[in-house]
Amino acid sequence: MRNIIAIARREVQSLFASPLAYVLTSAFLLAVGYFFNIFVRYYSEATLRMAQQPGGLEQLDLHEMVLRPMVANMQFFMLVIIPLLTMRVIAEERRQQTAELLFTSPVTTLQVVVGKFAGTQVLVAVMVGLTLVFPLFLAAKTDIDWGPLLSGYLGVLLLGSSFIAVGVFFSALTEHQILAGVLSLLTLIALWVMGLAAQLFDPAWREVMEQATFARHFDDFHQGVIDTQHVVYYLSVTAFFLFLTHRWLDSERWR
């Protein structure tokens, strides 16, 4: 455990020592903030309109109209940002040959993989956590329903961790960072749209593909439902890709 923390902490330090983390965090906040702004404006216009009808205001739901779409949007931004963050994690270690340091230190391959993953997860958590300023703005003026909002955030982080695990795997697969980034982006998109493509297949496969897709497991979270089935789904995708990374790195040394 101590080794994992040491590796994760170094990873975070390195991320924050490079402009990449700041650029991506800013871009993420900008994107989330831009859409938040649009949703709030739309909501306030709707308020003015509905206020003229008796009982109209009761039909408006701040969570449904502003917070839920804001959280839902984050998944798309993460789809693009996380491959950019993860593409270097292991590829870079190999390029600058620090992999030789890690693998000749008394740490196991699994500790290296988990440490690298955890470091990136910390950065993503910081990034996602910073977007809480937007609901805090709202909270200053009105009551907001924190429960479903925070469970939505939990969903985002779980989704993020499976994205990161996919990214770490591709970063271990190739020494070329760009290639690693592109491959993980394509894989994430494929896993994303698999549910849509499922319509084209016969029922047995359709069910499998619909269950395996990322999107399907996300919606319940921002409705305020933390269903263990979805939590387990994201955690198993994460564990599966980290396990693949571990096996890949170990087997590679035999070649």
């Binding site: 101590r2 620090t98 030789e100």
Partner: protein
């Protein structure tokens, strides 16, 4: 301390290391020589647990590298050919990170890091970013990282490549200062470096070990050279007649190569003889390029064997 038996490593069809066996005792410094691509780095990577061996065993401090990799890795400090450093880290943060990987307790860590930085002459750059340091300093950072946990065994892969002469001497002195307390394996192309630091020499060629002997045996053992001021026709004959001299061959004027008979030590007799004859002794020493000749002989010999 280090025991390697019938170690073999294949990369696909290519045999990089072919049945190497050797031993290094505690406190010994082994110079590991060989042409580029002979298998030095591969052997070192197997010893450090970075690469698995195809067959054969490697043991460090009694622990088998493949069966107890963590025990082995705890006991070694490894400096690969390109120092594995993170350019975006500061020198002391990096060395402290390596100390942490070696599970040095927090209370000990600061003093061990200080000691390693001090020893490698990094005190003045400890707050600098590694990426901004010169190659020589980066090499020293790598060395400090390899030493910080005070390993019993040090494995250094071409530690002086790309350094200027002053830095080479510093690193060499550093290596020599470990000799008593550590077991060191040092790979290099620079033969004088081996003569200056190593007690034992192993030469590897095409993955096979062709020489494994104490340095003294290789370089002194049975050869001497003598240079006189006033050369005379009878010098060779008179020297050859001395007890302990097996054969004398004349080189350039005034220079004689002497084969020493096994077990003999004719140095005193030669000095006395030259002085008595009034030839004027200028030089009496082992051949200057002795190791070079052993090296070239070993490497060429191996290739001839292969051709045959």
């Amino acid at each position: 301390m280090i025991r390697v038996a019938a170690l073999t490593r294949r990369f696909g069809e290519r045999v990089a290391v072919d049945g190497i066996s050797f031993e290094v005792q505690r406190g010994e410094v082994l110079g590991f020589l060989g042409p580029n691509g002979a298998g030095k780095t591969t052997t070192m990577r197997i010893l450090t647990g970075y690469l698995p061996a195809t067959s054969g065993t490697a043991e460090i401090a009694g622990f088998d590298v493949s069966r107890h990799p963590l025990e082995v890795k705890r006991r070694i400090g490894y400096l690969p050919e390109n120092p594995p450093v993170y350019p975006e880290m500061r020198v002391e943060t990096f060395v402290s990170f390596v100390a942490e990987l070696h599970a040095l307790r927090r209370s000990l860590r600061a003093s061990k890091v200080d000691a390693a930085l001090e020893r490698c002459g990094l005190g003045s750059v400890r707050r600098r970013l590694i990426g901004n340091l010169s190659k020589g300093y980066r090499q020293r950072v790598g060395l400090a990282a390899a030493l910080v946990h005070e390993p019993e065994v040090l494995i250094l892969d071409e530690p002086t490549v790309g350094l200027d002469p002053a830095q080479i001497i510093e690193i060499r002195n550093l290596i020599r200062s470990f000799a008593d307390s550590h077991t060191v394996i040092l790979s290099t192309h620079i033969l004088p470096e081996v003569e200056a630091t190593c007690g034992r020499v192993a030469i590897i060629r095409d993955g096979r070990l062709v020489v494994d002997a104490p340095l003294l045996e290789l370089t002194q053992g049975n050869r001497l050279q003598v240079r006189v001021v006033r050369d005379a026709a009878e010098v060779a004959g008179r020297l050859a007649a001395l007890p302990g001299v097996a054969e004398v061959t004349a080189g350039e004027p005034g220079l004689y190569r002497i084969e020493v008979a096994p077990g003999g030590d004719p140095r005193e007799a030669i000095a006395a003889c030259v002085a008595a004859a009034g030839w004027g002794l200028l030089l009496l020493s082992p051949p200057v390029a002795a190791l070079e000749q052993v090296y070239l002989g070993a490497v060429a010999g191996a290739s001839e064997r292969e051709a045959a």
